[in-house]
Point group: C2
């Protein structure tokens, strides 16, 4: 049925070592890790020196190696390695969401041109088999929405703010102390990581290839004690939730923002470092999947699952993308949001199409209402600079009424406005 | 990539009509339903008469038809149809859990001998892609446990008993009125349906082929208001949960019983007709999947997903079974249970190895402690006859200490004791 694979591994950090352990303790599946390429020559390694190399070409040029497993941090170098491997006819498994989100189309074409397989289940939501389920199980169903909690670091921080009444900074520090957040947490707390995953999922759920710079990510760095107090009083938890939503006229909206979650939502009970995904199908209804979003062994297990699939000749067929009836992407949507603001000037900048609640107090002010996503994109830097906080109060995303005039031009993207 | 399939459909009830609708509204996937075989000549049909036949051979002998979709109620006739179809080299999709559970080994061999594919994602937990995930994603990982809520009818009834303080009989009646339970609910409320699904899942999760008569199913028919009161006071919900648990020395235990569920368990929030599955892997940790366990469209969508997989040449590889290191089945395990009893005689029959709590009162008596599953198997009829109620208080299953002597012989099976 299957052949024994020869693996060249790039990176031997947390996930690489997890894979090594899981592979050696797998039942019934055997694959050889022939060589491991690492960068740091001074680091002590837990495997024999004969397995280690510092020269990527020693792996890429080895004809005996059929599969490259790429688990390094640097997304640019990862792209060099992965594209080189695909061109040389090697199959690739990667967990690098930034690499994938930034090069989806190129990587798709490289697979087609070289008739090789690139698998990346571990790139989105750790041990939850979301990409495989979308690709193989929901392939013929029109999906309405995919949403969830895709980032364990922010979920850990946000859980602590509500459950233990910690301030954002204290919760971040605790996450860093426990190893759930990196020293520079930007990628997680500003929502980039969740956005990359949303972009990967949007391809398999809706057949959409979108550029990261076109997708808004609002993070949690401006979360203030007053916002935590507001959420607690209302019985909400706060979660960072990517939303990928089908709209009328074959449009799809994709963005990442904090959200107040009520008790009746599946995501309410997805706490700490866990991830959860809700897939809403036209016919299958609502499916909910929860699992560990990160960690050495869970991610290693997801990588191993891809390696095993490769041994059976598996490749993504990108069925929704191939259908050529794929929807197009839009940012021209209304969302229902809470905005904690400071001055009247803020409300002049961030114009709500409709305000349903407004509160001005001694400590803080807020409005709740409908605002166009394009408006938030145009003001993302302003929001960060002035430490305002935006949170969805509902998961509903709608197309603006055509009669409502927007002062923002249709083709605005975050590319023009955000530097990352 | 895929070819257009010609389908012969058996049965045009709830799921058959759901499939017909879902198929005709699918995006990007086309398959022709060439003929539909039905039994009742007097029933009005929503499709043209030219599609309908009353003769199964008109489908089975049609060389143009490559796929049989079997969606009838009668498990014996279903076995005749499915085995005949496989022998004739046709692929088969079925949602019939009884058929599958009773003939797992024969059907496995028929697939191998005739080099055809039999898929049955819709047979277990409706729209949750559990079999595919076990077969393709957790194929190389040693799983520790699979448990959950596999039956929507009993879950609906049990939800109403706690949430609305309905008696078992009132809740059953409501379920019947709403179409969630059949006029003869035996198959659901005595736990047979959940057991059949557990047996199917045990094959894909642990490579185990077990006979239904060897597996204990305790249902919910003896649930009394006093049990509901007990559970409510303790803050429990009551769920009917199959448990498939790996134990020491490569043994696996499988059984179905009611269980008191605490708020911190994923299954606590799986209410009404929904299903939930928890998959615990050695490395991937705990995965939780929730979705609609039944219904015309969700089940139709699951059937369509199998048809689509067939069009890509997919077949289960029964990887865990093929590994030949599959564990063996045992009923010699201790479970922690609550037993509501009536007389001292009951406790002499159902001997607890260890009692941690005992209550005798005006209205009812109960004990909580450890009891051997073999003991419950031997007394299943007694429990039903005397209207006692058994419920797990913990999901932990353990092998009895070798020093503890059991008076029940090792090879006892429910076959000898239970008639169904």
């Amino acid at each position: 049925m299957s052949k024994k694979l020869k693996i060249g591994l790039f990176g031997f950090g947390c996930v690489g070592q997890g894979l090594y352990h899981v592979l050696n303790n797998s039942t019934g599946f055997k694959a050889d890790i022939v060589k491991i390429a690492v960068k740091n020559k001074n680091k002590e390694r837990t495997v024999g020196a004969e397995l280690i190399t510092y020269d990527k070409w020693e792996i890429l040029n080895n004809p005996e190696i059929d599969v490259i497993v790429e688990l390094i941090d640097d997304a640019n170098e990862a792209f060099n390695i992965v594209s080189e491997a695909l061109k040389k006819g090697k199959h690739v498994v990667t967990a690098n969401k930034k690499l994938l989100a930034e090069h989806l189309e190129e990587l798709y074409l490289l697979q087609q041109e070289n008739n090789v397989s690139l698998l990346y289940e571990a790139s989105a939501c750790g041990s939850i088999p979301i990409i495989r389920s979308l690709e193989e199980y929901f392939d013929n169903e029109e999906l309405e929405k995919v949403s969830g909690i895709f980032n364990g670091t922010t979920n850990y921080i946000l859980t602590k703010t509500i459950a233990e009444k910690l301030s954002y900074n204290d919760a971040l520090k605790q996450a860093q102390d426990k190893g759930f957040a990196e020293t520079d947490p930007t990628n997680d707390v500003e929502g980039y990581d969740a956005k990359f995953k949303a972009i990967i999922i949007a391809l398999h759920a809706f057949g959409l290839i979108i550029k990261p710079e076109d997708v808004l990510n609002i993070g949690i760095t401006t979360l203030h004690d007053n916002d935590i107090k507001y959420a607690s009083e209302k019985g909400y938890k706060i979660k960072l939730t990517p939303i990928i939503q089908r709209l009328e006229d074959n449009k799809v909206s994709v963005f990442v923002a904090p959200r107040f979650i009520k008790e009746n939502n599946h995501l309410y009970n997805v706490d700490n470092e866990f991830n959860g995904v809700i897939v809403e199908g036209k016919f299958s209804g609502e499916q909910f999947l929860q699992g560990r979003g990160a960690g050495s062994y869970p991610t290693g297990a997801a990588v191993l699952s891809d390696i095993s699939a490769l041994s059976h000749g598996y490749k993504y067929e990108f069925k929704k993308y191939a259908q050529k009836k794929a929807p197009t992407f839009t940012n021209d949507v209304l969302i229902e949001a809470y905005l904690r603001y400071t001055s009247e000037e803020d409300l002049k900048r961030i114009v709500f199409d409709e305000i349903t609640e407004q509160y001005t107090g001694k400590d803080y002010h807020y409005v709740v209402g409908k605002v166009n996503l394009k408006n938030l994109i145009a003001n993302r830097d302003y929001i960060l600079k002035h430490q305002l906080f935006i949170s969805l109060v509902d998961e509903k995303v709608s197309r603006p009424d055509v009669t409502v005039k927007s002062s923002i031009k249709e083709n605005v993207t975050t590319k023009e406005l955000v530097n990352y």
